[in-house]
């Protein structure tokens, strides 16, 4: 019966959430990114722009101290080392991950996701890694598991400090992917009727249970992350999936088009902020 009551609550909340009809317009990604950055820098005037990549630790001093204690010898170090070994290990055909990427895969994290004109879709780093494996006759890795996290951890690590450089080519399909990602970010879902923005735009810095919510600006720069709550590493895919379940929404399949578009949007609006992954988070 408790859930029955919740249903009524959820419906009531939905009714009150009815917004005045918004004017339909095509958005301007450059203006979006400027507004996004302005929103967060005005909300947290004491936080330096490049420090937003450290999530809640940029905002909460007590948490920052715990984090710094943990960063003295970060728990993602083992994963990072595994990732480095995996990256160097040749496939059975003798080729390497390095052969699939520009610059041998080193220092390129900031260029992902990108819009692939040939396929007409957004390609994330995780997707590119599995495409590379499949092109070389290897089975794909699970998107939400530790091996994928280890590989992306290593690739992020070699890119630390490089600013996100996401491009939206002059292609209506790329623009549409960006728009879809933006819509996904702001759309309320799950029984709790939360959007990504409910937590990471409207209430960052506040506590949800014990966790201090991270601002959306720079949130993907730290990926993948070691979460104490998981006792292990998680990819962008894993983070999106858990966010969905936490608001009691059924997650989409990893690397679903919606998730890739969301990553495209979120990365784009954090352009200029440095890659800081792998990160450690509660």
């Amino acid at each position: 019966m408790a859930r029955f009551f919740h249903t009524v609550l959820a419906l009531t909340a939905l009714t009150f959430a009815v917004a005045p009809p918004a004017v339909a317009e095509t958005s301007d990604p450059v203006a979006d990114a400027t507004a996004f950055r302005k929103y967060f820098t005005e909300k947290f005037p004491q936080v330096k722009l490049e420090d937003f990549v450290n999530g809640a630790y940029a905002i909460d001093e007590a948490m920052r101290r715990q984090w710094q204690a943990i960063e003295q010898f970060p728990p993602y170090e083992f994963s990072l080392e595994t990732g480095k070994e995996m990256f160097a290990q040749p496939f059975r055909n003798g080729k390497h991950y390095a052969d699939c990427f520009p610059n041998g895969g080193v220092g390129i994290r900031q260029d992902f996701p990108y819009f692939d004109a040939k396929e007409g879709k957004v390609v994330t780093l995780e997707l590119a890694l599995n495409k590379c494996r499949e092109a070389n006759g290897e089975p794909p890795l699970a998107y939400d598991k530790e091996e994928m996290a280890a590989l992306t951890a290593y690739m992020a690590f070699t890119s630390r400090g490089k600013p996100f450089d996401i491009k939206i080519p002059d292609d209506p399909r790329a623009r549409e992917a960006y728009e879809n990602g933006k819509r996904y970010f702001y759309t309320r879902r799950g029984q709790l009727n939360f959007s990504c923005a409910s937590c990471h735009v409207q209430t960052p810095g506040e506590r949800l249970r014990a966790e201090v919510l991270a601002p959306a600006l720079g949130i993907l720069n730290a990926m993948p992350i070691y979460r104490s709550e998981w006792g292990g590493m998680g990819t962008v895919s894993r983070r999106f999936i858990t966010c969905n379940s936490q608001v009691r929404g059924v997650p989409l399949e990893p690397q679903a088009e919606e998730y890739r578009d969301l990553e495209y949007f979120l990365s784009y609006v954090s352009n200029g902020l440095p890659i800081s992954g792998p990160g450690a988070r509660p």
């Binding site: 010898f73 728990p75 170090e77 083992f78 080392e81």
Partner: protein, 103 residues
């Protein structure tokens, strides 16, 4: 196989600061897995540090040490280039040893 032990030992003046991180599940025996079955305890009980054959720090650990445990301490009497031996043994009798150079 890579060691389960990562050591950072940095000498500064007379003092050497030692930090280690060990890859170990540190299962307490109080946690259930996805199927609702208790994960049996599996944790490091003793961690020993030796410098020139002398024990300089011994940690006795129970079940409340975090997964992938970390410890930091400092000691006197070592210099750069000296070797530091680190060894652990857990409740199942498994163990690992490594030797690190003080930097």
């Amino acid at each position: 196989m890579a060691s389960s032990i990562r050591v950072r030992a940095i000498s500064s003046g007379d003092l050497t600061e030692v930090q280690v991180l060990i890859q170990h599940p540190m299962d307490s025996g109080f946690v259930k897995d996805g199927k609702g079955e208790i994960i049996p305890p599996h944790f490091i009980k003793e961690l020993t540090f030796e410098h020139e054959g002398k024990k300089i720090f011994v940690a006795d650990w129970g079940t409340a040490i975090s997964k992938d445990p970390y410890v930091k301490f400092s000691f006197k009497g070592a210099k750069k280039g000296d070797e530091l031996k680190v060894m652990w043994v857990d409740n199942k009798g498994e163990s690992d040893t490594t030797t690190a150079k003080i930097q």
